[in-house]
């Protein structure tokens, strides 16, 4: 592991060590580039992961305050948790469910395919789909995704039997245990999945891909990575030429430090990425970095996400096995006759005790109905709806000067008014999930409302026209050539796929670009 001096102005500084930042760090360091990787959270080992759900949530989650506004139901249902993101080395790749789906061709040409949708701020991606596929293929090999490159699918659990039976009964053709970055057999120096569940609490066998134990240690082995956990970036600085030249952060002792940089890459998961760019305002950039278009924080997407539960009269024990181990692909299409633009995935999902009662059910459920359902916890099956939501210019991350974080800085406010398209899609998906469970014999079906976002996207998006977004097709700021966005914030639109595979694919592409730019001294 490298020890890079604070005054070394030749290093690339990456902020955030998750899917984007962790992958980018490895790709740059293996090309001989010195990288300082700042991470706000602690570095845990597999042995550290708690198997107590409440404790694990506290161990991995970004718990500092955020505020929210808008007409969306999360404001009322989860007043203190508008978004569920991670704060630990490895970021959200520690708590993700490892669904590794690709965005679909029409999902990167939304403006062209969906046409003008009132109230939406759709754009096409500035990347050709075939080029994206090339990077998806590389990402899938790297993460050992099942059902790709000859890797077998994960064996189906009890829960999957119910899901598969119901889904095929109502006519779905593409119902599998999914494209998962979980080892169905030992691979990549990591163990196979032992179907223990508890994917979201951190995978104690390492069968699930995470940058924590793949990209980051491999980057360290190159001798070019200086990983600094528990270091909170608070400001990105720039020089007289307008280019960024360093990052101010608070170290584990609470001391403010200044790391010089040749290039800065921001990969803090949309909400904090937007916030850091806005916090870095200066006389030259009075509305924040990379924000001459006034697009930083705007067009924030989080997927239409909610749970549907089937209650049966026979045991299922859905907690046995991978947390999310079944996917219906049939609704992933653009078919306007369904009453909405875009498509969605039905993703079989289990929740543990007590999480199902806390976040799986409607927030006004109590009394005998709650008692009835919980008494049948052994006999329940669940699915998560993961659908493409439409960007709206006023759905936006801003700074809230009324609430300060422990460092005295304004927290992020997340404003979301749900676009009517999202509501129409959610209704359709929930009715399909209801039909699926009833076809398998469910005696009762329960639906949640929107859950706090784990997929945070598009708030500093790639655009061909600098007026429509924040960064170009390489994640490079339109305004500042040595400033990059390296996480889901850069996605032009959210697609209906869980975002991690796309974030990794874009990081692989960005690493090639940065290395080229550095070697030709363009940056």
């Amino acid at each position: 592991m490298a020890n890079i001096s604070h005054d070394d102005s030749g290093a690339v500084v990456i902020i955030g060590s998750g899917a984007g930042g962790g992958t980018l760090a490895h790709e740059l360091t293996r090309r001989g580039i010195k990288v300082v990787l700042l991470e706000a959270g602690r570095r845990l080992t597999l042995a550290d992961f708690s198997q107590n759900p409440g404790e694990a949530f506290g161990q991995l989650t970004w718990l500092e305050p955020r505020t929210q506004s808008g007409t969306n139901t999360v404001v009322e249902d989860y007043p203190t948790l508008p978004s569920w993101t991670a704060k630990t080395v490895g970021g959200t790749t520690v708590h993700w469910t490892a669904v590794a789906l690709r965005a679909q061709p029409w999902e990167v040409r939304n403006r062209t395919v969906y046409g003008h949708v009132a109230g939406a701020s759709l754009i096409d991606w500035p990347i050709d789909y075939q080029e994206l596929v090339h990077y998806y293929e590389r990402a899938e090999k790297r993460m050992v995704v099942t059902r790709r490159n000859g890797v077998p699918g994960l064996p189906g659990s009890n829960h999957f039997k119910v899901f598969h039976y119901g889904a095929t009964k109502i006519g779905y053709q593409n119902v599998t245990t999914g494209y998962m970055a979980i080892n169905s057999q030992p691979a990549d120096g990591r163990a196979m999945c032992i179907q223990q569940g508890f994917c979201v609490q951190g995978c104690k066998t390492g069968a699930k891909w995470s940058t924590l134990y793949t990209e980051i240690p491999r980057a360290e082995a190159t001798g070019n990575l200086d990983l600094r956990p528990e270091c909170r970036a608070v400001r990105i600085e720039h020089g007289d030429d307008g280019h960024v030249n360093g990052v101010v952060y608070v170290d584990p002792q609470g001391q403010q430090q200044r790391q010089k940089a040749r290039i800065v890459c921001v990969a803090c998961n949309s909400v904090e990425t937007s916030r850091l760019l806005l916090l870095s305002e200066s006389a030259r950039y009075p509305t924040g970095l990379a924000n001459s278009s006034d697009q930083v924080g705007r067009n924030f997407c989080r997927h239409t996400g909610s749970f549907v539960w089937g209650v049966f009269d026979k045991p299922i024990e859905m907690w046995r096995g991978v947390t999310l181990g079944g996917i219906v692909l049939d609704e992933t299409k653009h078919e306007p006759k369904r009453g909405f633009a875009g498509g969605y995935h039905l993703e079989m999902a289990a929740l543990d005790l007590p999480s199902i009662a806390i976040s799986g059910f409607p927030q006004d459920l109590w009394g005998r109905e709650l008692g009835f359902v919980m008494d049948r916890y052994r006999c329940m099956a669940g699915t998560y709806v993961n659908g493409e939501d439409l960007p709206v210019a006023t759905n936006r991350i801003t700074l809230n000067p009324k609430v300060k974080d422990p460092f005295g800085l304004p927290v992020a406010n997340i404003h979301i008014d749900d676009h009517p398209n999202n509501a129409a899609m959610r209704r359709h998906a929930q009715q399909q999930a209801r039909a699926l469970f009833e076809a398998a014999g469910a005696t009762k079906v329960l639906m949640s409302r929107q859950t706090p976002a784990t997929h945070n996207m598009c708030a500093a998006r790639m655009s061909k026209d600098p007026r429509d977004g924040v960064v170009n097709a390489h994640g490079q700021a339109h305004d500042i050539p040595n400033l990059f966005v390296s996480d889901g914030a850069a996605m032009s639109t959210p697609s209906s796929a869980n975002p991690t595979l796309t974030i990794v694919a874009l990081a692989l592409r960005q690493a090639e670009y940065i290395a080229r730019q550095m070697s030709t001294r363009a940056i």
Partner: protein, 185 residues
């Protein structure tokens, strides 16, 4: 401070309460607990307040066969919150003051009616949230609901029933996948 030494703990802490109960004979919980009798000292709430909250948590999450000891953990958590933070204590006291004195002993239908009139208040939402996070997280509840919890320490569910469901057919292998046995290559 010498005179304080003669005060018992409850006096020293002020006017606080205690909840007591007995586990049913033959209860699976009795096997887990050190003794059938249990007592919970309250740090902030009075006995009457504790009893009312106990009835409230039972009304929010009714499980007839789940014993009072499990619900007492919720009251313990609410009491700890009240002891740690004056605003939380105020929220609970003000909310409880809106329930009639007979709430704890009223029939379930009356308790439900009383809570329905409050169920959009911060008081109700706070008690509901603590009920869910505490009641369903306890080992007592795990035993009651048949939830097996973590399995890493036992080698996962791979060889312990992850696919033992027999009331539906097995999906075709192309949609599922093989259980790896060490010779896949």
């Amino acid at each position: 401070m010498a005179s304080n030494a003669k005060m018992d703990r409850r006096e020293f802490l002020g006017a606080t309460g205690v909840l007591t109960g007995l586990l049913a004979a033959g209860s699976p919980l009795a096997l887990l607990a050190p003794s059938r009798a249990w007592a919970l000292d309250l740090k902030s709430l009075s006995s009457a307040e504790g009893t009312a909250l106990m009835a409230m948590t039972r009304t929010i999450a009714p499980h007839d066969k789940l014993e009072d000891a499990a619900y007492a953990l919720v009251v313990q958590a609410l009491d700890a919150g009240a002891a740690a933070d004056a605003a939380t204590a105020g929220l609970l006291r003000d909310g409880l003051a809106r329930l009639s004195p007979g709430f704890a002993t009223a029939a379930e239908s009356e308790r439900v009616q009383a809570l329905k009139s409050l169920d959009t208040t911060p008081f109700f939402k706070s008690v509901r949230a603590t009920t869910l996070t505490t009641l369903y997280a306890s080992p007592l509840a795990y035993a009651h609901f048949g939830y097996e919890g973590e399995a890493f320490s036992k080698g996962g569910y791979l060889m312990r029933g992850f696919n033992d469901l027999r009331w539906l057919p097995d999906p075709p292998l192309k949609d599922s996948g093989p259980v790896y046995t060490g010779d896949a290559h």
